[in-house]
């Protein structure tokens, strides 16, 4: 039984209730930092970390705080984890931290995090809450990454540029130049490009969902139509 529940949580976070594509939460960082893969991945990982940690902690304390002070306590926990993440990023990926700038401290205000704390972690046991945080965080992070990939390819003609900011010297030459040097497509780099790409992804998700629904309906259909036909023919004869 537990397996089914875990699978449902994963499906919820990654696809069905994806924070970025369905709930449309956290759009500000989504649009602001997805200009390149390394930025998107950096913020995605940071958000995932904060979300998982805060969900776990909040689930642990859920029976010890009263309704009245629940929200302040949650905010305090979320702020703590965000600041810790900020300090860690400064320590280990300093340049990436300077590029992402204000969007790291702003993770505190990301609605996904307080949303999951209130809607899920405050009502569920620790393990499921941690998994929910991880899956919601991954769902958000993957969309960030996808937009980052698309915008970096379209905008700069590169992929994985500056990855050493995140992975150290070994990533120094991961950069792929897809359309030769000097290529550039401005709108993909600027914020409107992020809106366009995010919009396309949402549309794509809806198309895929519709296809799945249609197929499911088609699989069930023969039984129903068959039954009807029997009745019709029966009536005619």
């Amino acid at each position: 039984m537990a397996d089914i529940r875990y699978r449902e949580i994963a499906h919820n976070g990654l696809w069905k209730n994806n924070p970025a594509l369905v709930q449309l939460l956290g759009l500000c960082p989504l649009l602001a930092v997805t200009g390149s893969v390394v930025n998107a991945l950096g913020l995605g990982l940071a958000t995932m970390l904060v979300l998982t940690a805060s969900n776990t902690a909040i689930s642990m304390i859920r029976n010890h705080v009263s309704e009245a002070v629940k929200i302040p306590a949650f905010v305090m926990i979320i702020a703590t984890f965000t600041t810790c993440t900020e300090l860690l990023m400064q320590a280990f990926t300093y340049e990436l931290y300077t590029i992402l700038g204000i969007f790291i401290p702003l993770i505190v205000t990301n609605c996904i995090i307080l949303g999951r704390a209130e809607a899920f972690a405050s009502k569920n046991p620790v393990v499921t809450s941690a998994l929910d945080g991880l899956m919601m965080g991954s769902g958000f992070g993957l969309v960030l990454l996808l937009i980052g990939i698309i915008r970096e390819i379209l905008g700069n003609g590169t992929l994985f540029a500056n990855m050493h900011l995140l992975f150290g010297p070994m990533a120094e030459n991961w950069t792929l130049h897809l359309f030769g040097e000097g290529y550039g497509f401005l709108i993909a780099v600027l914020p409107p490009g992020a809106f366009l790409v995010a919009g396309m992804l949402i549309a794509l998700k809806n198309i895929i969902d519709k296809r799945i629904d249609d197929r499911r309906a088609a699989q069930q259909a023969p039984v129903i139509t068959g039954a009807k036909r029997v009745r019709t023919t029966g009536a005619i004869s």
Partner: protein
Amino acid sequence: MARLGKSVGFNSLVLGAFALITAALLASTYLGTKDRIAEAQREVAKRALLEIVPMDRHTNDLLLDTVSVPANYWHTLGVEGGEVNIARQGDEPVAVIIPAVAPDGYSGDIQLIIGINIDGSLAGVRVVSHHETPGLGDKVEIKKSDWLLGFNGKSLTDPTAELWKVKKDKGAFDQFTGATITPRAVVKQVYKTLKYYNEDRERLLKAARQQPTINHQASEDSEHG
């Protein structure tokens, strides 16, 4: 009333306990990362300085060997405080690296460091931070374009004062396609900084000569072979 008082008291206690726990967590993370963060910041600052005055042109520790920017020139340089880094061969200064801010970029301040050789020629200019438009104004980054290298070797007299402008304003410096404001701001601030150096040179070098040379620590020396 007593019940209300009791619940307020209890809730405050719970919140207080949370504040203590989170503060402790923050404090320990801070203490654990403090040194690494300071080192990372130093590393980044040092790399920028070394690009302007490479290792083979100086023997001292650029980062620590500094003279304060005099307050009466803060306005000229667009800074509030800051340190001029001194590069030396042995004890003799060979170049200074001056922080400056071009306030009139397309989207606000462009922070620069400007390296000037003792003879008044430019050793190099680098942008430390800026908010210019990606794809247009961000060609002031050395990573995106080698435009900044065009300053190397230039001085107050080369080109002459009326040519210290972008080409669009009938000067000697290229602008970028689609972006004139950014290079214009940078050219203007570099020129102002050169003028500052010209005026303050004697005092600056005297101050540098008076203070002891700060050399690299032994461990760092061996690191650089």
